[in-house]
């Protein structure tokens, strides 16, 4: 760790808990970094000259005569083009055996963008997956998480989305990644030949959980450098934000704070919003788009973590296995991209919004028909048709192994609508049916 000649070394620690230690010290700033016997720590509370430090890697083995050195600054990251292609830990130190990064150092968790200086997001990010591009179009500057159960292949889907999306940089913030998943990302990035546009900040399950709290800020600080200063389109991947929130609750618990819903700290909303709101479209062209993962417990979205996330992010993507076709699909009912309205029918073909809605509505009718069937009722001809439609729709459009252009998705949707339904059943504006429907009964 960096130390300079004039730094005062304290050697009397008064109070030690599982995550924090307290000592008497003067002239210390709030959120300042320090080292305690070489371990990195941060000031979380000051009462007179009594300073409380949170030690990221835990206090195991910290003695009362530990050497404490205050570093005089908040956590920092050196930023420059040299970040590209590198892997770092939660403190921004290289873990790939490469050299330290040379560049100007920036405090992480910096100020927010003035809302009047933001630009309205307007560029769509095509992924080739119809479950996203057609039904839940993602736009630069958007923040959207995958809501998935731990057994679902969310990291794979996310990696696929990241690599297909045309962005200048991909920054991975891995929190509590299993070593296997870490190696998966490393592997897939290397194999894609895209390593030079990828930067990774990784905290694995082998690292102390509280360290995770630094990861998103590191990733987003690097993202801000490339987006704000280099006008690049940056895609930030944060996985898994549930583990991040868990770390927040650990700290809050150790600081004796009163927990609110689901043992989470009362500030969970603000803590998460501070990160997600870093997603932005800058006026000069750069952008930060955040795709995150929030793992659920048994699909429960009312838990405080997914619930607060849902209120912050601009939509959410649900991944589930469709047993009818035996593939993983993007669930059209529960998934939502709030910013899609900014591009669909504007940057894409004008029939996009109505075709999308009609298909989803009919897919919903199929779900009702299925319930009827399960309850032992007779199906009408319409029910039968919706169910056939749903299966084909799922297979040809919702499945995540689809990789086609948006116009082709729309054409496919029309083919299916025409194959199974009358104009009245589709319920699309008549002008659009005439122009794009290519129906024989028109």
């Amino acid at each position: 760790m960096e130390t300079t000649a004039f730094q005062k070394i304290h050697t009397k620690v008064n109070h030690i808990t599982k995550a924090t230690c307290s000592l008497h010290a003067d002239g210390v700033g709030y959120e300042e970094m320090a080292t305690v016997n070489g371990r990195l720590a941060q000031v979380v509370k000051i009462q007179g000259d009594l300073v409380t430090l949170q030690i990221f890697s835990g206090t195991e083995g910290i003695p009362t005569n530990a050497e404490v050195v205050f570093l005089g600054h908040a956590p920092k990251l050196p930023v420059s083009d040299e970040l590209s292609g590198r892997f770092f830990n939660a403190y921004g130190q290289p873990i790939d055996g490469g050299p330290e990064v040379d560049g100007k150092t920036v405090e992480i968790g910096g100020p927010s963008v003035n809302p009047v200086r933001r630009k309205q997001p307007s560029e769509l990010i095509a992924t080739g997956i119809a479950g996203i591009d057609l039904n839940n179009t993602i736009v630069t500057g958007q923040k959207i998480p995958f809501f998935a159960d731990p057994d679902q292949p969310y990291n794979q889907v996310m990696a696929m989305v990241a690599l297909r999306a045309k962005t200048d940089k991909i920054i991975l913030g891995g929190m509590g990644l299993t070593n296997d998943d870490y190696l998966f990302f490393k592997n897939i990035f290397e194999n894609a030949g895209a390593l030079d546009r990828i930067i990774s900040f990784v905290n694995t399950t082998e690292d102390p959980p509280v360290e995770r709290l630094l990861v998103p800020d590191m990733a987003l600080t690097a993202a801000e450098y490339f987006a704000a200063e280099k006008n690049q389109d940056v895609l930030v991947l944060l996985t898994d934000m549930t583990l991040y929130a868990d770390a927040l609750s650990i700290v809050s618990n150790r600081m004796d704070q009163i927990p609110s819903k689901d043992s989470m700290p009362g500030s969970l909303y603000s803590d998460l919003a501070r990160l997600y709101e870093k997603a932005v479209q800058f006026p000069k062209g750069g952008s930060i788009t955040i795709i995150a993962v929030t793992t659920l417990s048994g699909g429960d979205i009312t838990h405080a973590i997914p619930d607060n996330t849902g209120y912050i992010t601009e939509g959410q993507l649900f991944v589930r296995r469709d047993t009818d076709i035996g593939k993983v699909i993007i669930d059209p009912f529960r998934s939502l991209s709030r910013l899609k309205q900014l591009v669909i029918g504007k940057k894409t073909r004008e029939d996009h919004p109505q075709v999308m809605n009609a298909a989803i509505r009919l897919y919903a009718d199929a779900a009702n028909a299925k319930t009827k069937l399960e309850n032992g009722f007779d199906l009408t001809d319409y029910d039968e048709r919706t169910m056939k439609f749903a299966k084909e729709y799922s297979d040809k459009l919702l499945a995540i192994d689809i990789n086609i252009e948006i116009d082709e998705m729309l054409n496919t949707a029309w083919e299916l609508l025409n194959k199974y339904f009358s104009v009245a059943e589709i319920g699309i504006k008549s002008e659009l049916v005439e122009k794009y429907g290519k129906r024989k009964d028109n």
Partner: protein, 587 residues
């Protein structure tokens, strides 16, 4: 001599200050960090310690830093120039701040000191005036902005002199008043008012009774709100709260719209910034932005300013109400404000109430809603502040403290339903669960009878009934099966679906369907009720579904067409033909 102090302790944005003199609760102070001053508000006092919440990040703040107290509470600056502004929660002008990123302690003035306004006197020399009396007016965009005797004044005054018509700056003296002690008091065009205290410069606050048109059918036609009324919109995320608020802000019949973006997404505010300067206000033909003021404390902006933002917004609303204007205040979302209170309460280690919210949350919420209202001003004119807040209930469960407290305070309830949102039935307001208490007000019923139609209230009740019966029929069909119930059940269900698809559902993104005038709403409601009253004949239940799908499809095409246009009339005729098909079979 103002009180000074020194920073003693820091826990996130709660700072403890040792003071050397008197301080008052809610007093504003500035913490003088090197290079920047951080604004903070006293929220608790214990001995020589003042506990303050800082409206900024406290990163780098050191104990011993000097603090200066101002002697006043958080105040709004009121005067011409508020319209079309984008303020932060403390009324600093966001557009005046330099750079892309917000800088700590960058406190820009709310109004322009050097801008000239064309002033026209209303009052005359020797007139007796009191706080809130109109002295003159300036044109602010298209609003006649009244210059009033400051609300802080007490008692009656006589006008000694008043400025002649001409151009003045906000700080110029435009009138000199004499109080009962014969002292002269100068008055300028700008005044300050503490945001946490209601402005009461009116004579009387009766029960509100004038319908406020919103152009949203499920509100106007089924759960109407009034000028000066209160409403709240709770709903799980993804049910369209924000789209609904935006629709309200675009279409509502009000002179001024104030949007308090309280702890919500920045991109939503950006949408307003981007769209409102382009969109026309159909009532005045001017741009929407000209009647809109935005108070933005987005979710990444300092938490403490979130609470201040709703009060700042309400104070501005009350100020414009005192000019005899109809103001609509939208706050999205009041839950974030309550959460900000919770964070602070937690840091001060207060004993928590339910869900760790402070115990006085219900009182705070109801006091706030009580500031809305329709008023008779002292000069006989009327003004109104209509307040609609959204609530973001945790997990979509309305049995949580913020929703419960708000339900007690607000008179209209617009329940957003997850089921409706899932099946893309937007706006996802559940017409049956929602209510408007104003329908029960005799004075409102009278207003409707005189101004809209004698049958309107009965029609609302009938439509709600049809929806309830349709629901029941649907459940029966689900339990007993399509062929296990009489065909009538299918008809009842589908007739309720017609109301759902034609009246309740509305395409906020379609140019024509987005907003429906009351006249058109009434026309369509009559059409739909006509269908309901027509006895249609079906041989089997299988005929019912496709038949009504056709009816709904034609109705929807009507909704997408200009009212009474050729296209509209054509669809209307087609509709009649379809209805006749089934009546004919009867013959």
């Amino acid at each position: 001599m103002s009180t000074k102090g020194k920073v003693g302790g820091i826990i996130a944005n709660l700072v403890i200050i040792e003071v050397d003199g008197p301080v008052s609760q809610n007093e504003i102070c500035y913490i003088k960090m090197s290079g920047v001053e951080l604004m903070a508000e006293v929220i608790r006092i214990g001995g020589n310690n003042a506990y303050v919440q800082v409206f900024e990040s406290t990163r780098g703040l050191k104990p011993g830093t000097e603090v200066e107290f101002t002697g006043h509470m958080l105040e709004a600056t009121l005067g011409p120039g508020i319209l079309s502004k984008n303020f932060d929660g403390l009324q600093h002008d966001l557009d005046k701040m330099e750079g892309i990123f917000l800088k700590k302690g960058d406190y820009t003035p709310a109004l322009e000191d050097d801008k000239l306004w064309e002033f026209k006197p209303i009052a005359k020399k020797d007139d007796a005036v009191f706080p809130g009396s109109w002295l003159g007016e300036v044109k602010e965009n298209w609003i006649p902005h009244k210059i009033m005797v400051p609300f802080k004044f007490e008692g009656t005054f006589t006008i000694k002199s008043i400025a002649e018509q001409g151009e003045y700056k906000i700080n110029d003296t435009i009138a000199v008043l004499i109080n009962t002690n014969n002292n002269e008091v100068p008055v300028s065009m700008v005044q300050k008012w503490p945001v946490k205290i209601p402005i009461k410069a009116y004579k009387e606050k009766p029960r509100p009774f004038v319908l406020m048109e919103t152009g949203i059918r499920v509100i106007d036609s089924l759960n109407p709100i009034v000028e000066g009324g209160t409403g709240f919109i709770p709903g799980p995320f993804g049910t369209g709260k924000t789209v609904l608020q935006h629709a309200l802000s675009k279409q509502a019949d009000a002179d001024m719209i104030i949007i308090a973006a309280c702890g919500e997404r920045a991109n939503e505010v950006v949408e307003i910034f981007a769209e409102f300067p382009k969109l026309d206000d159909s009532r005045t033909g001017r741009k929407l932005i000209e009647r809109t003021t935005i108070i933005a404390n987005t979710s990444n902006m300092p938490v403490a300013a979130r609470e201040a933002s709703v009060y700042t917004a309400m104070t501005i609303a009350e100020y414009y109400r005192a000019m005899g204007l109809k103001v609509l205040l939208l706050a999205d979302s009041t839950s974030r404000w309550a959460q900000a209170l919770r964070e602070m309460s937690n840091r001060m280690e207060e004993l928590p109430g339910p869900d760790a919210y402070p115990m006085d949350l219900p009182a705070i919420i109801s006091n706030f809603y009580a500031r809305a209202g329709f008023v008779y001003l002292n000069n006989g004119k009327t003004g109104a502040v209509t307040f609609i807040g959204t609530v973001s209930p945790a997990g979509g469960n309305l049995k949580e403290p913020v929703s419960e407290s708000t339900k007690k305070a607000a008179r209209c309830f617009y329940a957003l339903s997850q089921d409706r949102a899932d099946s893309k039935r937007y706006p996802a307001i559940d017409a049956v669960d929602s209510y408007s208490k104003y329908i029960e007000y005799p004075e409102f019923q009278e207003f409707i009878r005189e101004n809209i139609s004698p049958d309107w209230i009965d029609d609302i009740m009938l439509a709600k009934n049809i929806l309830i019966r349709g629901n029941e029929a649907y459940e029966q069909i689900n339990i007993l099966g399509d062929d296990g119930v009489p065909i009538d059940y299918h008809q009842i269900f589908w007739k309720s679906e017609v109301i759902d698809f034609v009246i309740l559902q509305q395409d906020a993104f379609d140019k024509i369907d987005a907003s429906t005038s009351i006249k058109r709403q009434q026309y369509m409601m009559n059409k739909v009720l006509d269908v309901y009253r027509t006895n249609l004949k079906f041989e089997t239940f299988e005929e019912v579904n496709p038949y009504f799908k056709r009816i709904i499809n034609i109705f929807k095409q009507m909704n997408y067409s200009e009212f009474k246009s050729e296209k509209f009339n054509k669809f209307e005729k087609e509709l009649q033909d379809i209805i006749n098909e089934r009546i004919l079979i009867e013959d």
